[in-house]
């Protein structure tokens, strides 16, 4: 089996795992009546948006060879949530290329190399997560609000997306790095 196919497949399952946990948490919150979203409401972010961390992790570890898998899972999730056609494309592009842009800025401007997460400090990862969250929240905000595809206020949108992206991506990357160290997984 081709190495590139394997990279894509790994990316697919890593992001799928993040989505699965994220959806499980939402379902649990709804079942415990902690949250009433009436299904997925993209106008309000979750406070633990794990998939963002998964996308960033896959880009750092697998590079461009993991992108097809990330695209596929993002499209499948958009179909599962029955998003509008406009939102669907924007959502997929932002999910996949937001982390690519954020990590590339770090690399291009020689702040961190981010060859893999094993050699980076926790503070470096936290800093990446903050920049990732800024990119993701702002780009989603611009696309949703410029196309008038929103029902909530600006403040509610940003106040839920930004912390959710920071916490979710940080939790996922730390967890994934920990698992890599335990199972001695290296860079692709």
């Amino acid at each position: 089996m081709s190495k590139y196919f394997l990279a894509s497949l790994n990316s697919f399952f890593i992001v799928f795992f993040a989505y699965f946990v994220f959806l499980s948490i939402i379902s649990w919150q709804e079942s415990m009546e902690l949250l009433d979203t009436g299904g997925l409401n993209i106008d309000i972010g979750s406070y633990l948006y794990l998939p963002l961390g998964a996308f960033a992790f896959c880009w750092v570890v697998y590079g461009k060879w993991g992108l097809p898998g990330q695209f596929l899972i993002s499209i499948l999730m958009s179909l599962y949530w029955e998003l509008d056609y406009n939102i669907f494309i924007q959502y997929t592009l932002i999910n996949v290329f937001g982390p690519v842009a954020a990590v590339s800025i770090f690399r291009f401007l020689q702040v961190y190399s981010f060859k893999d997460f094993k050699s980076e400090t926790i503070l470096a990862i936290l800093f990446l997560c903050i920049v990732l969250a800024l990119f993701n929240s702002l780009s989603k905000f611009f696309t949703f609000f410029l196309t008038d595809n929103h029902t909530t206020s600006t403040f509610d949108f940003l106040a839920t997306y930004l912390p959710g992206d920071i916490i979710g991506s940080f939790v996922f990357i730390i967890f994934a790095t920990f698992m890599m160290k335990i199972f001695h997984l290296g860079q692709y």
């Binding site: 800025i105 770090f106 291009f108 401007l109 020689q110 702040v111 961190y112 400090t121 503070l123 470096a124 936290l126 800093f127 903050i130 920049v131 800024l134 990119f135 929240s137 702002l138 905000f141 611009f142 949703f144 609000f145 410029l146 008038d148 206020s153 600006t154 403040f155 940003l158 106040a159 930004l162």
Partner: protein, 183 residues
């Protein structure tokens, strides 16, 4: 005495660049210019004179929000916005230092790319925080996203342009002034 002098310098630098942005810049319907040089001036002042010039920058930002805005701000809003604008770069500088992303508190051996990175993330965070605070209270002619997009790109372009021009031409201009014996 030196700190006071630096504060006056920082105030003048930021305030003059606000005037330049407002009167000669591409002034648009909201309160920002699409090339908002004051953002770059603020960053440069912090890099040159350190965090001790925060009062000078704060005063200049208060003047900006009092006199050069299209909406009618109250005092609480002016102080809050000026505080956000002043504190955000310092927070990012501290964060970069703590996470070993680059020490911008000392200008020696600084990587210019780190300054570009600093400008990008500070512009994003500053635009986000200010508009999160502001958009809940003020009615703008445009939608929230347009206002924020203009502010973000204004700060980004203005910041990058100002710091680039200053780093490229500040030394030759200073030498010419010295030759003319004004300094």
């Amino acid at each position: 005495m030196n700190i006071l002098k630096n504060n006056i310098n920082a105030f003048l630098l930021v305030f003059v660049s606000i005037l330049v942005s407002v009167f000669f810049g591409t002034l648009i319907e909201n309160f920002k210019s699409l090339i908002f040089l004051a953002f770059g001036a603020k960053i440069l002042a912090l890099l040159l004179w350190g965090v001790y010039v925060i009062p000078g920058i704060f005063l200049a930002k208060v003047m900006q929000y009092l006199f050069f805005t299209n909406f009618d701000p109250n005092l609480e809003m002016v102080i809050s916005l000026a505080a956000i604008a002043t504190i955000t770069p310092v927070v990012m500088m501290t964060m970069m230092k703590i996470s070993n992303a680059g020490n911008l508190f000392k200008l020696e051996n600084i990587n210019f790319r780190h300054i570009i990175f600093f400008i990008i993330i500070t512009a994003m965070l500053s635009a986000l925080l200010k508009h999160m605070y502001m958009l809940s209270d003020i009615e703008f002619a445009h939608t929230a996203a347009v206002v924020m997009l203009e502010a973000l790109f204004g700060q980004l372009f203005g910041g990058l342009l100002f710091v680039y021009v200053a780093s490229k031409f500040a030394q030759p201009i200073y030498q010419i002034i010295r030759k003319l014996k004004f300094v």
